[in-house]
């Protein structure tokens, strides 16, 4: 159904805009950032060079590795929490409600992504404060008060605010698409609800579960707001390290080292997760 050959002006008109724009303003910045990690800073000015000094400085500092381990740990914890917390909800949405309710539920889960994340974090700050509402409610039950702000707990709450709705959506969509006859077959063969979940639902919905977890990891690992405002920024995560290094002074090359390390880490994790997700269907 193509009246002429592929390379004409008409075709190019549609093909080029994204190529030009994303090359100039997406690829070029990323490539430049990698190059910048080899630049020097002399007299508070950046000098183009090709030196390993930033890499050696950052990699030889304990605080860098502390931040690295902390960021990985928090993101991994967030991923486990989000996956575990989301699963029962997604299961209910996939199997126990009508299509109509499921559509509405997903619509409502998208809404938070169009409210300011900053404002939601501010709300959590107020909710979790020493004299805040969470402690007020717990006080009625005769518990607390607990110190929640400036702890890893608060950071994780922030990460959940960021990622949980998305993880529920992705899990729900993947589980809703599972062939119902598979589940009936499991029941007919005498498997209970739990057994069916473990040996039918989870393997069949594997891709959605892993993609959800991966998104949670990427978002948490790259988030600056939760660890800074809720977690108290001490010790700093890699994201806080980047902002501090960039915003205070001219040490952009060192910030670039941190950013490139983050990117490499994420690529390895994303690649392994996707390989694992699509690797050999469950027997």
């Amino acid at each position: 159904m193509k009246p002429r050959h592929n390379m004409d002006i008409y075709a190019l008109t549609w093909r080029l805009p994204v190529l030009v724009w994303q090359t100039l303003f997406f690829i070029a910045p990323l490539v430049f950032m990698i190059a910048m990690s080899f630049f020097l800073v002399k007299n508070y000015r950046m000098v183009e060079a090709f030196e390993l000094v930033n890499w050696m400085k950052m990699f030889s500092r304990d605080y860098f590795w502390d931040s690295y381990v902390l960021s990985l740990g928090l993101a991994a914890l967030a991923t486990i929490c989000a996956t575990a917390l989301a699963f029962p909800a997604s299961y209910a949405l996939a199997f126990m409600v009508s299509d109509n309710i499921r559509r509405w539920a997903i619509f409502f889960l998208i809404i938070p992504y169009f409210t300011s994340y900053l404002v939601r974090i501010f709300s959590w700050y107020v909710l979790l404060a020493e004299a805040g509402i969470a402690n007020g409610v717990l006080g009625y039950l005769g518990l607390g008060p607990f110190t929640m702000l400036n702890t890893a707990f608060a950071t994780i709450v922030g990460y959940m605010a960021l990622t949980l709705p998305l993880v529920v959506i992705l899990q729900t969509l993947s589980m809703a698409n599972i062939d119902r006859s598979l589940i009936e077959a499991a029941h007919n063969l005498g498997a209970g609800r739990l057994r069916t979940i473990v040996s039918v639902v989870v393997p069949a919905g594997k891709v959605g579960l892993i993609v959800g977890a991966l998104f949670c990891f990427i978002l948490s690992f790259g988030d600056f707001v939760s660890p800074y405002y809720l977690g108290g920024s001490k010790p700093p995560t890699l994201t806080i390290l980047i902002t501090d290094t960039t915003k205070s002074g001219q040490q952009w090359p060192r910030a670039a080292v941190v950013a490139v390390t983050m990117m490499a880490t994420l690529m390895v994790i994303a690649y392994s997760a996707i390989r694992y997700a699509y690797n050999r269907r469950q027997p």
Partner: protein, 265 residues
């Protein structure tokens, strides 16, 4: 099957708790934007417009809103144009390296914003376009184009391929077919993409904070207030931003669902 009913009920309660977790902060922020106490806590203080009034009378707010609107409008138009071109290319053509082409088009949202922000700050300074409102527009266009592309591509999926060739057979050239067939067909999704990308741009703060220099958008202003003390002005601004973005999303959603009900030609 009493145990089954119990499980069902427990799951329902659990589901309600999850939704509570998601919506409590949004509701809190709205409620406390009208609360007279300086530090938000229970029981509530009196009703007040004070925070809205403070925000309303602050010239910085209006400056920020103007910047945000300018950025959101311009970058949504640019992003939707780029998204349309990409979606049409993907719909109609097959060519070598198409996989790489699509990856390039869809990749930006998967890179953490903080990394993009640093990279763009450095690159924009290098080529001399940093610290302006235009820098935020350029950056937001990069970020928003994939969303526009996805929305428009979904609509094109519903278009019969023969529709375009029918127009050619009737003597329309490609441009005329584009104008009289493809664009009218995708129009709801184009408007939907405009709203969606505007909402994305209106909320984005990380890149805007890095590349904007002294030109603050609304979320950047929130970020800076947040760095000070607990300040209920954030609730007032936040509720306003929420109203704007939810309106955009609802319009987008209405058009998006309108398109599934129109005839599939």
């Amino acid at each position: 099957m009493r145990r089954d009913r119990l499980v069902t009920w427990l799951l329902r309660i659990y589901l309600a708790l999850i939704f509570l977790f998601v919506f409590v902060p949004i509701a809190t922020s709205m409620v406390f934007s009208f609360n007279s106490d300086r530090f938000p806590s229970l029981p509530l203080g009196g009703f007040t417009w004070h925070w809205y009034d403070m925000v309303y009378k602050d010239p910085d707010t209006w400056e920020a809103i103007r910047t945000s609107l300018l950025v959101a409008l311009t970058s949504s138009v640019l992003a939707t144009f780029i998204g349309f071109c990409t979606a049409y290319t993907d719909f109609r053509y097959r060519f070598r390296f198409k996989g790489a082409y699509l990856a390039l088009a869809l990749l930006p949202p998967t890179i953490p914003l903080i990394i993009l922000a640093l990279a763009m700050l450095a690159w924009f300074s290098k080529i001399g376009i940093s610290g302006r409102v235009g820098s935020i527009i350029v950056a937001h266009t990069v970020l928003c184009a994939p969303f526009a592309m996805a929305v428009i591509r979904l609509r094109l999926q519903q278009m019969d391929r023969d529709l375009e060739s029918a127009a050619w057979n009737l003597g329309a050239n490609e441009l005329a077919a584009m104008r009289h067939v493809v664009i009218p067909f995708t129009l709801p999704s184009i408007i939907s993409a405009l709203c969606l990308t505007m909402a994305v741009s209106f909320d984005e703060f990380m890149i805007a904070w890095f590349v904007s220099g002294l030109n603050k958008t609304v979320p950047v202003m929130i970020l800076e207030i947040l760095q000070g003390n607990v300040d209920p002005r954030i609730n007032a601004i936040g509720s306003f931003v929420f109203a704007v973005t939810v309106t955009l999303v609802v319009v987008a959603q209405l058009l998006f669902s309108a398109k599934t009900t129109t005839t599939r030609s």
